[in-house]
């Protein structure tokens, strides 16, 4: 909307502006973004000027512009055009419906956790583990079947993401728990403490050996080699400090990279399983907000 045009054909300009304002209002009401409204209005404006200038011998007057605008779409027509675009932006879930297998694959793991947390009688933890494994297998089965069914169904279904999340959730959590249990035996602090204990014991032993050697040499100088040498006595505290358990020796010998790696894996798996759970919940919420029936075909 340049000043030049305004000065050349003010009446035509104001007619066009009125039309553009009406178009913009309709677009705004239908939720079209500001930049898109501007882009659409510029196209409408360009078209109106181009047709008007083709028809007018000189500069287009209000009568030319009025004719042009009468031939162009009414501003109300933009409601349909913009809503058509919005409908295409709707998530696929609303348009196609989610395959029930995909839903099941994601719903089974939470059921498993609820059952695990519920007291299961005298069997307790072992029964909970069995339930988790069985439901984990079910979630895997539903996930695989869901993905396969979505690909092969004659109707178009969505839910592949749900199926993949459901399929991954329990294996990720089980891997996480395994890594955590494994990591418990490999905590860095434990290894450092064991290494410190081994080092203290080694130094005590070295000091003790030097002390015994010193006393032996003094004994030989004083009494000769024929008299039997008795090493100096050792206190219970010193004896304890020199003693290292096999477990400490094993732990101190462990490479530091392994626990670092295990802890890294735990963090990554925990993050992945959290993301899977959050993404699954979010997708389900969106599904609920869209009022989508699981069996609604396209």
């Amino acid at each position: 909307m340049s000043d030049q045009q305004t000065s050349e054909a003010p009446d035509a300009r104001s007619l066009l502006d009125e039309h553009l304002d009406a178009v913009e209002r309709v677009l705004q009401e239908t939720g079209v973004s500001r930049s898109e409204r501007q882009s659409i209005c510029e196209e409408v404006e360009g078209q109106a000027w181009e047709i008007a200038r083709q028809r007018a011998d000189a500069e287009p007057g209000p009568e030319h512009m009025r004719m042009v605008l009468a031939e162009m779409d009414d501003p109300a027509a933009y409601m349909e055009g913009a809503e058509g675009g919005k409908a295409e932006q709707q998530p696929l879930l609303a348009a196609r419906g989610v395959h029930p297998f995909a839903l099941c694959s994601l719903l089974v793991p939470p059921v498993g956790f609820v059952l695990m947390l519920t007291p299961l009688g005298p069997r307790g933890e072992s029964a909970g583990a069995v339930v988790l494994i069985v439901l984990g297998c079910l979630a895997l089965l539903f996930g695989v079947l869901g993905i396969r069914a979505i690909r092969q169904a004659p109707q178009r279904y969505s839910g592949t993401l749900l199926a993949v999340l459901g399929l991954l959730l329990i294996p990720l959590i089980m891997l996480n728990v395994t890594a955590f249990l494994l990591g418990g035996d490999m905590d860095l602090t434990g290894i450092r403490r064991a290494q410190a204990r081994v080092e203290v014991a080694r130094r005590y032993r070295q000091t003790r050996e030097r002390l015994v050697e010193f006393h032996r040499e003094r004994h030989i100088k004083t009494h000769g080699r024929d008299v039997a040498f008795t090493p100096p006595s050792i206190s219970a505290e010193e004896r304890d400090a020199m003693t290292v358990t096999r477990a400490d020796e094993r732990r101190a010998a462990r490479p530091m990279m392994l626990p670092i790696l295990v802890h890294g894996i735990i963090i990554v798996l925990a993050a992945l399983s959290s993301i899977a759970a959050i993404a699954g919940t979010y997708t389900l919420c969106r599904l609920g907000a869209a009022g989508c029936s699981p069996r609604e075909p396209a």
Binding site: E36, S39, I51, D73, G84
Partner: protein
């Protein structure tokens, strides 16, 4: 019947616009004229311009501005690589549907 034709045209609007841009860029009104030269394809600005804005937002078309002898600067739309891929995918679907209907027609003909 009119309703069906209207639905059909609405359904292929994006395909039509992408196809009209596949060989050469065009500004909005030029694109509209290019499409409406063909009988059976009747699209108006209230359908095409919002669609162009959406295609631009989705990265399926790129835009460059150039001065116009009449009115505001023209915005020339051209397909991006993503737009070309989308058009190819849509054409495949279109061909598959058309072929299936033809096959069905052959089978059902006594």
């Amino acid at each position: 019947m009119r309703s069906w034709v209207s639905q059909l045209r609405k359904g292929v609007t994006e395909l039509v616009v992408l196809t009209a841009l596949q060989h050469e860029e065009a500004y909005g009104y030029e694109l509209l004229q290019r499409i409406n030269r063909h009988d059976g394809l009747s699209l108006t600005e209230s359908t095409v311009y919002p669609l162009l804005a959406r295609l631009k937002r989705d990265g399926l078309v790129g835009v460059r501005a150039a001065p116009s002898p009449s009115g505001p600067p023209r915005r020339y739309y051209a397909l991006t690589q993503a737009g070309i891929r989308r058009l190819e995918a849509m054409m495949q679907e279109w061909d598959a549907v058309a072929e299936a209907v033809r096959q069905l027609q052959k089978e059902e003909t006594p």
